[in-house]
Amino acid sequence: MLEVIVVVFLALGVFFLFVGAIGLLRFPDFYTRLHATGKCDTLGVALVILGLLVYHLFYYSDTPLVCVKLLFLILFIFISNPTATYALMKAAYRTGLKPWKLGDERR
């Protein structure tokens, strides 16, 4: 039963990371590609870590502090990932990269 929960978390996480990679290839320009990677990577990595956390909590319950460290990892990823996305966006916008509009050619 426990393995099922862990595998579900890991599979969902890998699914979202996979979707992020596909989005990076399919979307037409820089800004829309950041939509795919910035969001999917955050939740994908968080779900993978959550799966590891549940696994560790039940199989190595003599060292529960590792779970706290994994939680901190999730927290910091949730703070730093949108910030990094924002920095990339702003850099692109300031250098004058034109956003793709509906009907434009694919770049």
Partner: protein
Amino acid sequence: MIENEGKGFRILVTFCVMFLFWLLLSGIFDALHLTAGVICSLIVAVISYDLLVVGKRNKTLVRSFRLLLYIPWELWQIVLANIDVAYRVLHPKMPIDPRIIEFDTSLRSDFALVTLANSITLTPGTITIGVRDGRFWVHAVAKEPAEALTVDGTMQQKVADVYMEW
């Protein structure tokens, strides 16, 4: 000296947070490690007390509590955002219609602006490009997420509630 009001309290709060962080990361509870932790937390607290706790003491606790209530809603929005992106990526016709929108908020404090900017980035279909004096530039991947920000303004309201800036 309004700036130094509650300085001791702010150092104390920073110290407690830092020492808790030390305890959780080290996991060793003998005298040597605890002493080292106290000394390091004290140094960090004295140097950077004004970074962690900003503002008056009576509001800080209420704000932290309200922020805790805001986080679950935000987590749910992140899940929705990912499902939204997954749908747009995997749909054969790729239903996107990107646009850049601008809007004003009444928020002014740094913490509130950062919270709103990061929240916008993590919620469905929108990414913050820039912030200046409460004015936001946002890249939206389609029409509906753009209107959720400009017309409804649910998120602005929620962040304003958390930081009590109406």
